[in-house]
Subunit: 167 residues, 2 copies
Amino acid sequence: MSETKGTPREPEGQGRGQDLTLDLDRYVPAFITFIANKLSNSATAFYQRSFGVNVTEWRIMSLLAIEPGIPASRICSVIGFDKGPVSRTLTLMKSRGLIAIRNDPQDGRSHSISLTAKGRATHDKVIVAALERERRLLACLDKNEQEVLIALLRRIHDNLDAVTGGS
Amino acid sequence: MSETKGTPREPEGQGRGQDLTLDLDRYVPAFITFIANKLSNSATAFYQRSFGVNVTEWRIMSLLAIEPGIPASRICSVIGFDKGPVSRTLTLMKSRGLIAIRNDPQDGRSHSISLTAKGRATHDKVIVAALERERRLLACLDKNEQEVLIALLRRIHDNLDAVTGGS
DNA sequence: AGTTTATCGTTGCCAAAGCAACTAATTCAT
DNA sequence: ATGAATTAGTTGCTTTGGCAACGATAAACT
């Protein structure tokens, strides 16, 4: 308010002086958090209602379809979740017959996790809905813009240590 | 695995047939969720330790600095949170002297919320750290790429109804 | 070999946030 | 003007997910 937008030096966006504020139309952490929360909430509601799985379970299933036989630690690092919730979710999924957990003969601490036939069948249903949801989300961008977005997000993803590590 | 990557029709990325799987290197919802979770977790840990506020409190403060005197409903819609947690957080912030809540003389249900001097002082400290965190996050992109990312995220943000609404 | 150290996973505990039910207040419709 | 519908915010309940402590196994270092 006290700052005139009349000098649009391209990379400005905040007031200088004593009334420094965020520009919420350009603040990336807020954007990403907002989008992610809405996506996860609506995905859980929809997947739960339609297929009886929540988003976390779906993410685990989608990874197990790609990399069968992985241990829990691999799931944690790929989906970025703590091992506590992952362990609990795996226990639940096993009890529902979605996954099989075998001991790793090489390492008594580790396990080999994979989808059962039932888990695979559920996966094959959910993935159709998941891809359709992504398609709708990205429908506001043309094909090239989608590629640009994916490339930029991947670089941000790979740069997260710059924020989460050294604080 | 059963699909040869030898026919790279640009917009492929998934196997066809019975072993349809996600391509996690190109699946936007997973990227965004991963990034958002890591950002929020590390932000809360850092802001809590350094300034005694969590990320939700910081988001509310940053909005109150921009739009003093708004009601809670406005906070909910801008930060994308449910009114329950927002109400509880506001109560806590008031008890700590960060914000003032006055009754709206026009509407007995509504309130006018604003930062106190103490809240403003905290805001002015946190924002420096927040901008520095964003700077580090985006340091892997050049200035133009950052602009592109912001524009694309804004369009995704504005398109969320396509996924959260009709399903 | 034996002791330390590191890793995998489980569990207890807690904070964060959504949903639903509710109260109070306002607006809308007759 | 009065009853119906809407809206603002509070509160109870539940789910989700992180952190820390732990037990069990494996690796590393004398």
